[in-house]
Symmetry: C2
Subunit: 345 residues, 2 copies
Amino acid sequence: SRSINLAVIPGDGIGPEVVAQGLKVLRAVLPQDVKLETKEFDFGAKRYHATGETLTDADVDALKQHEAILLGAIGDPSVPSGVLERGFLLKLRFLFDHHVNLRPSRLLPGVATPLAGQPEIDFVVVREGTEGPYTGNGGTIRKGTPHEVATEVSVNTAFGVERVVRDAFARAQARPRKKLTLVHKNNVLAYAGHLWTDVFNRVAEEFPEVTTDYIHVDAATIYLVTDPARFDVIVTDNLFGDIITDLAAAVSGGIGVAASGNINPSREFPSMFEPVHGSAPDIAGQGKADPTATVLSVALLLRHLGYDAEAARIEDAVSADLGERGETPRTTDEIGDALAGRVAG
Amino acid sequence: SRSINLAVIPGDGIGPEVVAQGLKVLRAVLPQDVKLETKEFDFGAKRYHATGETLTDADVDALKQHEAILLGAIGDPSVPSGVLERGFLLKLRFLFDHHVNLRPSRLLPGVATPLAGQPEIDFVVVREGTEGPYTGNGGTIRKGTPHEVATEVSVNTAFGVERVVRDAFARAQARPRKKLTLVHKNNVLAYAGHLWTDVFNRVAEEFPEVTTDYIHVDAATIYLVTDPARFDVIVTDNLFGDIITDLAAAVSGGIGVAASGNINPSREFPSMFEPVHGSAPDIAGQGKADPTATVLSVALLLRHLGYDAEAARIEDAVSADLGERGETPRTTDEIGDALAGRVAG
Ligand SMILES: CC(C)[C@H](C(=O)O)[C@@H](O)C(=O)O
Ligand SMILES: CC(C)[C@H](C(=O)O)[C@@H](O)C(=O)O
């Protein structure tokens, strides 16, 4: 009989509320013969304040015992900016080599968008997750003086770029439109830009059916609001991916419905699935948070583990639910119940 | 009697067409007693193909003889990506120390925006222009091999950050809302982020009337489409500024109306004014280009040289013209004539 051994990190703010709904829907969608084992971890602001720890070696070892990780949100204004981001979120992405940061955007019928004319939006961003300006490389001299110099080094390797570009080509190949867009800024960031462009063009030869194009990151933000339908799959660097996926989420229904996967395709280490939104402390504990992004992250998790039919059932349930959402706001729990009801087969 | 000694760089693609209208409006708005002297320069793709030159030492010396530069657009698909950008545009910004890259965004009544509900948009981005990831610092080893490593170094100095932050505070102070937002990614780019945040907070003490806040660049793209009215003045780094000003242009009427100034406030070297759009070779020579962005760049130029009343006349003319634009497209020349007619006093 089959089983899923899941690490659960509720985290801060609205994290615990949305994760509870994600688990509810996961339990409802799984066939009887699949045994779900979950173990909860207490990472986040509370633990940091109590112990000063963000993620210890023992924590990492414990997480490694699981097949996948479901994360709510990590972050709180009481913790200095960057401590939990770099001490936990990015640390995990690096340690578990989550090089494919997968962020689908789909504007479903009936869902509100800030764009006029309800454009068609259905694309996936494959964001590199372990390199670029995110490596923490850099430094400061003469800190706090009028002569301070601070540097940040974007590190890009052929190895790291090629594996994520190949992953993106394979995803484009598997989609009806078979189109892949490279987003970079190769006219200015010429060293990294050359590497990305060169690798992209070489890997393209292995995927003759995939149509390719290139656009600068600044122009990409224009297309995301004027012609998002032009995109099918986008592959891009860690920082550009961070920026354009927030914009992509905003135009395709908001961060309340934006899911993401931090994926290690080799499965050497567990992949981590999380909503794109943060911990939203201002609405925490009020039952106001929309759990949809977490539920859609559960679908990405299931697909990663090979439960394609169950993933599709969740996505269909979300589509149906979003299409029927009226003006009356529902609580976090009510939305979770509705989705769990729809997927229960 | 007064005079303006202007270097004019028509450039590539639609550059010459839009610059001609910019000059037309400039001539129409200037009082009789102001003598306008212009000298045209042939930089761009044609010169590059003919001579291999993008900007020689002699060119730089010649440009230095002028009080300001009006640029149309530089760039052509026939030139490898980056050659003209780094060999001309960025080279000038660095040589002439254009550290204040000024990009106003205003959605005028009646102007089309991709956003639903015609939101209020009236803000200015002050983009740093001489540091950050734009310095060309970095390198490549093992180029073209599976072991290639390419780096890009973002260089940030207290000197460079402070002068642009102070400029932005002064601009915020002079506006009715007196609000300044720092956009960065200080939770990830911690060295540069700390410098920016620290300098920003220190300079803020000198401007007690200015309300300040900080948002991450990814979140900034969300606000630009969901709540652009929250912005008054934004100050940000070179790369983040590049990205968010294209998005800002897109939501506030499109790049057809987005102006920019590459400003050296000390006036030690001439400042350069240019539309945010590129050379658009696909529509060049057809009289289809909208010269409005260039005309608004002329207004920024005039304000920089102290002709505030004339700058305001141009901006009012553009507002009036945009408000009355119907469905019938006009030629580049017709729009230029209409604006010149309106400003002629
Ligand atoms: C919280 C932060 C470190 C993170 C990032 O920049 O990657 C977030 O913005 C995201 O997109 O997942
Ligand atoms: C052409 C390019 C070098 C330039 C930049 O990146 O600054 C452009 O995008 C701009 O915004 O002026």
